[in-house]
C-alpha cells in the first residue's frame, strides 16, 4: 500500500489516489501521501475541532485523524469495511484523513486537468487543483495543503503547483 515506491510512466503525468466521499470521486496527489490504512481504533481528543476524530497509533507513532466528510461540510457516515485512512506527511506535520473508500491510483496527464474556477465559488475552488474527467466520472483534485491549512513558505512548491493547474 505504500505508494512512494510507485513510479510514473510519463514525466508529465502525476499520480493521484482516487477515493470516494458521499458517492463523489476525489483525487489526491501521491507526492505527500505516506500510506493508506484500514480503519483502526481512534482515541478522542478533548477540546479539539469537530472534524478532528482523534489520534491513532500508527506503528508506534501518534497521528491525528480528521474526518474529511466533516471538514468538507458533509454528514458523518458509519465506518465500514471500505473505510480507509489516508496518511499524509505535509512536511510540517503528519495527519490521517478518513475517507469512505479508496478506488484506485491513476496517472493523470496535466493536459487533462480543467480549472474549477468557472465551476465552483471562489472559496470552494481554492480547495481544488482542478477537475479531471475520466470516462463517465469526474474526479475533483484536492489541494491537500489548503484543506489542512498548511502554511507552506516554500516557494518552489507553489511554482510546481501552479504548473499542474
Amino acid at each position: 500500500m505504500n505508494d512512494k515506491n510507485s513510479t510514473s510512466s510519463n514525466i508529465n503525468d502525476s499520480q493521484f489516489i482516487v477515493f470516494e466521499l458521499e458517492n463523489e470521486r476525489y483525487g489526491l496527489s501521491v507526492v505527500k501521501t505516506e500510506s493508506i490504512e484500514r480503519m483502526t481504533q481512534i482515541t478522542r481528543v478533548p477540546d479539539s475541532s469537530e472534524y478532528v476524530l482523534g489520534i491513532i497509533n500508527l506503528r508506534g507513532d501518534i497521528i491525528p485523524v480528521l474526518s474529511l466528510r466533516l471538514k468538507m461540510g458533509l454528514k458523518p457516515k458509519e465506518y465500514d469495511s471500505d473505510t480507509r485512512i489516508i496518511v499524509i506527511d505535509t512536511g510540517i506535520f503528519r495527519v490521517g484523513i478518513v475517507v469512505d473508500s479508496v478506488i484506485e491510483i491513476i496517472n493523470i496527464s496535466e493536459m487533462g486537468i480543467q480549472s474549477t474556477i468557472e465551476i465552483l465559488t471562489d472559496r470552494e475552488s481554492q480547495l481544488f487543483k482542478g477537475v479531471y474527467k475520466s470516462g463517465n466520472s469526474v474526479i475533483m483534485l484536492l489541494d491537500m495543503d489548503t484543506v489542512l491549512g498548511v502554511e507552506d513558505s516554500n516557494p518552489k512548491k507553489e511554482i510546481k503547483d501552479a504548473a499542474i493547474v
Binding site: P46, I55, N57, G60, I62, P64, I92
Partner: protein, 667 residues
C-alpha cells in the same frame, strides 16, 4: 577527517576551556595569591593557544599567546595580579568568547580587533618574556654536547690517533641559499673524515631551519690548517671556528653530560610524576563525548522497549506459566534499569549551568555598585541535559532581577541594620521526581500592595475582586507582561521584565515557578522541573469509557468519598481536603466525555484524585482507576498543538492510545 569534523570538537572544547578560564579568573580575583588559579589559567590559555593554532585561528592564537606572557609574569612574581590585571584578563575572556562566537557563526575568527588588548597585555609585562627564553635556547645549542655513544667514538678515535675537530661555521649575512651553501660545506668536511654530530641536525639544515651558523663534529686525520683553508675558500662563508677536541675537553664534557644526564633523569622522574598525576586526573573524569542525537536515539529505543515490555506484561496476566511470569518480571526490572541508566547518561550536573553565574553576579555588582556575594548550594544536583541547556537564561534573568531590584544599595542595607554585602542564593536539590532550583536574595522583598495596585490600574483584576485575592494570586501578576513593562514603581521596577518569558520557558519544560517574599527579608523564586522529559510514571484513570494518564508526580493522594462530601461554593464544586477547601473538577464534564456511566444522583463513592501543582491543590473526579504504569510521552504533533488540556499521549502495551492530561491546565 576533515577540518569541519574537528571544528565541532574545537568549539565544544574551547567553550569548556573558557568556562574554566572564567572560573579561575574569579578565583584569583578573590585570592590574588592563589598560585593554583594562576597555573590553571596559564594552562587554559596554553591549551586554547594550541587548539587555535592547530585550527589556524590566528587572532585567538596571538591573544592567548599575549595572555600567556602576562600570566607567566604573574607566575614568576614580576607582575602582581592587581585589579587592572584581572580586569584586562576578564576583557580577554570576553574577546575570546566573541572570537569563538565568530568561529561558530562564520568559521573564522576574523572581524574583531585584538591589537589594543594585546598591547595592553604587553604593556603589563614590559619586555616580552618570550624573547628571553628563545635566546637562552640558542645559547644552549651552541654548547658542545655529546651523548654516551658519541663520547665513546671520540675517545676511541683519539686513542687510535685520529683527531676530532669541533667546527662551527658562520655564513655570510647576505647568503641567500643557506641550505645549499651548508650542503657544500658539509660535503667538504665529509671529504676530510666522518661527521659524527651536527647541530642543528642535517635534516633541519636541509630545511633551512637554522640561523646563520651551524656546528659539526668530525673525526679526521687531516691537519687543521688544511681544513680551514679549504673551508675559507667556499663562497659566502663568513667565519669559521675550529677546535681540536682533546681528552681534557672530553672530561669536561663528560662531567656536564653526567650532570645533564642527572638533570634528564630528574626531568624524567618529574615527567613520570606528571604523567601519573594526569593519569589519575584522567581516571577521575574518564569520559567520552557523545552526540546528543545518539543519546536521543538510544532514549527512543528504550521507549520502544518499555512499550513492548508493557505489552508482554499485559498478555502475561492471563498466563499461569510460572517460569514465563518470572521471566517477564525480570524483563520488567531490567527495562526499568536500562531506562534509569540511559537517563543518567543524559544527566548533567547543574554545576554546568551555575558555572557562568559568578561572572554574571560580579559584573552586575560592578555595574550597580552593590556588594554582592553569590552562594551556590547543590551544584552537584543532576538534571536532564536538555533542561539544563534550556533553563540557564531564565536563571540569569532571575539573578539579574535579584541583584538589580531585589537587593538594596549598600547604604540602604546599612541603614536597615543588615550586613553590607547582599547575598544571592542559588540552590538546587532533588524533590521526588523533580529538580528544584531556587534563586533567592536577602533584599527588601516585593511589596505586594504595589503589585496589586499596578494590576488594578492595568485592569487585570476588578476592584471588587481585589480583596479576595490571595498573596499567591497577586504574586502571579508579576508574570504578566502588562505589569512588568510599566516598570515605573520604584522598588518593583523591572522585576517583571521578561518574567513572562521565564514563566513560559519553565512551563514549556513541564515545570512551575513560584515566588515567596517577605518584606525586608528578601524574595525567593522557586522553579520546579521534571527530572526527565520523556518517560514518566503515570496513573491511568477511566473517565466514562475513555482512558487518561495523569503524571504520578503531580498526584498528592487518591480518595474515595461519598457524593455528599462535595460542597458547593456558588458555581464551583469544592471539597474539604485536610481543612482546606479545594476546587473539584469533574473530568467527564471538563473533557466532554459522552455516555457517562455514572448516575449523578446516585450516592455511591466517588473517586477523587488530589493533584498538586506546587502549593496549589485541586481534586478531579474520575470514574475508575486503571493502574499505575511507566509510560512514554509522545507528542500530539504540530497539528494538535492547540490542545492545551493534553500534554501528549502514550501507547499502552495493547496498542491503545491514551492521552496524557496536562495538570497545569486542569488546576
Amino acid at each position: 577527517m576533515s577540518v569541519t569534523q574537528y571544528m565541532e570538537l574545537f568549539i565544544e572544547e574551547s567553550k569548556e576551556q573558557l568556562q574554566m578560564l572564567n572560573q579561575f579568573l574569579l578565583e584569583i580575583e578573590s585570592d590574588p595569591h592563589s598560585l593554583h588559579g594562576i597555573n590553571e589559567i596559564f594552562r587554559v590559555a596554553h591549551t586554547l593557544k594550541g587548539m587555535a593554532g592547530t585550527m589556524g585561528f590566528k587572532s585567538i592564537t596571538s591573544l592567548t599567546h599575549a595572555m600567556e606572557n602576562a600570566l607567566d609574569a604573574i607566575k614568576s612574581q614580576k607582575l602582581k595580579p592587581a585589579r587592572n590585571v584581572t580586569d584586562i584578563l576578564f576583557e580577554c575572556l570576553d574577546v575570546l568568547e566573541s572570537l569563538i562566537e565568530n568561529v561558530i557563526n562564520t568559521g573564522s575568527d576574523n572581524g574583531i580587533d585584538i591589537k589594543m588588548l594585546i598591547s595592553g597585555l604587553d604593556s603589563l609585562t614590559g619586555t616580552p618574556v618570550e624573547q628571553q627564553s628563545e635566546s637562552n635556547d640558542i645559547q644552549n645549542q651552541n654548547e658542545m654536547w655529546f651523548d654516551i655513544y658519541q663520547l665513546k667514538i671520540i675517545e676511541e678515535s683519539i686513542t687510535r690517533g685520529f683527531i676530532t675537530y669541533f667546527i662551527k661555521v658562520q655564513l655570510d649575512k647576505a647568503c641567500l641559499l643557506k641550505s645549499a651553501r651548508a650542503y657544500v660545506i658539509f660535503k667538504t668536511i665529509e671529504g676530510f673524515g666522518d661527521i659524527i654530530q651536527s647541530n642543528p641536525s642535517v635534516q633541519d639544515i636541509e630545511q633551512e631551519k637554522f640561523d646563520l651558523s651551524f656546528s659539526t663534529v668530525v673525526i679526521s686525520r687531516t691537519d687543521k690548517d688544511v681544513i680551514l683553508n679549504k673551508l675559507y675558500n667556499i663562497f659566502e662563508v663568513d667565519n669559521i671556528f675550529l677546535k681540536q677536541i682533546t681528552k681534557d675537553d672530553l672530561d669536561k664534557v663528560k662531567s656536564t653530560t653526567r650532570n645533564s644526564e642527572g638533570a634528564e633523569n630528574l626531568n624524567q622522574s618529574q615527567d613520570s610524576a606528571l604523567s601519573k598525576s594526569t593519569q589519575t586526573n584522567l581516571r577521575l573524569g574518564k569520559s567520552i563525548r557523545v552526540d546528543t542525537e545518539r543519546l536521543d536515539h538510544l532514549m527512543n529505543l528504550v521507549s520502544e522497549l518499555i512499550i513492548i515490555k508493557n505489552r508482554i506484561q499485559g498478555t502475561d496476566r492471563h498466563n499461569d506459566n510460572q517460569v514465563l511470569t518470572e521471566a517477564v518480571e525480570y524483563l520488567g526490572k531490567v527495562t526499568t534499569d536500562i531506562h534509569d541508566a540511559v537517563m543518567k547518561v543524559r544527566m548533567v550536573q547543574v554545576e554546568t549551568v551555575f558555572n557562568r553565574f559568578p561572572r554574571v553576579v560580579r559584573d552586575l555588582a560592578l555595574s550597580t555598585g552593590k556588594e554582592v556575594k553569590l552562594n551556590t548550594y547543590g551544584a552537584g544536583t543532576e538534571l536532564d541535559r536538555i533542561i539544563a541547556d534550556e533553563i540557564g537564561d531564565s536563571l540569569i534573568h532571575l539573578i539579574r532581577n535579584a541583584v538589580d531590584h531585589g537587593l538594596e544599595s549598600t547604604n540602604e542595607r546599612v541603614a536597615a541594620g543588615k550586613s553590607r554585602i547582599g547575598n544571592i542564593d542559588l540552590i538546587a536539590y532533588h524533590d521526588g521526581n523533580n529538580v528544584v532550583l531556587v534563586v533567592g536574595d536577602d533584599g527588601k522583598g516585593i511589596e505586594i500592595d504595589k503589585v496589586l495596585k499596578q494590576a488594578l490600574s492595568k485592569g487585570l483584576v476588578k476592584e471588587s475582586e481585589a480583596n479576595k485575592l490571595s498573596e499567591r494570586e497577586i504574586m502571579n501578576f508579576l508574570f504578566d507582561p502588562r505589569v512588568s513593562t510599566a516598570g515605573k514603581i520604584s522598588n518593583i521596577s523591572g522585576r517583571g521584565v521578561g518574567m513572562d518569558a521565564v514563566k513560559s520557558k519553565v512551563e514549556s519544560l513541564g515545570g512551575i515557578i513560584e515566588i515567596e517574599t517577605a518584606k525586608g527579608k528578601g524574595s525567593k523564586f522557586i522553579i520546579r522541573l521534571p527530572l526527565t522529559l520523556s518517560i514518566i510514571q503515570a496513573l491511568v484513570v477511566k473517565v466514562s469509557a475513555e482512558h487518561y494518564a495523569i503524571p504520578l508526580n503531580s498526584i498528592r493522594e487518591i480518595l474515595n468519598v461519598k457524593s455528599s462530601f462535595i460542597k458547593r461554593l456558588r458555581d464551583q464544586e469544592v471539597i474539604n481536603y485536610r481543612d482546606v477547601l479545594i476546587p473539584l473538577v469533574r473530568l467527564d464534564k471538563r473533557l466532554n466525555t459522552s455516555n457517562s456511566e455514572r448516575d449523578d444522583k446516585h450516592d455511591g463513592p466517588i473517586t477523587l484524585v488530589i493533584l498538586s501543582k506546587g502549593e496549589r491543590l485541586s481534586a478531579i473526579a474520575v470514574d475508575d482507576l486503571v493502574g499505575q504504569q511507566e509510560i512514554v510521552i509522545k507528542s500530539l504533533g504540530k497539528y494538535l498543538s492547540e490542545i492545551k488540556v493534553l500534554s501528549g499521549a502514550t501507547i499502552l502495551g495493547d496498542g491503545r492510545v491514551v492521552p496524557i492530561l496536562d495538570i497545569n491546565h486542569l488546576i
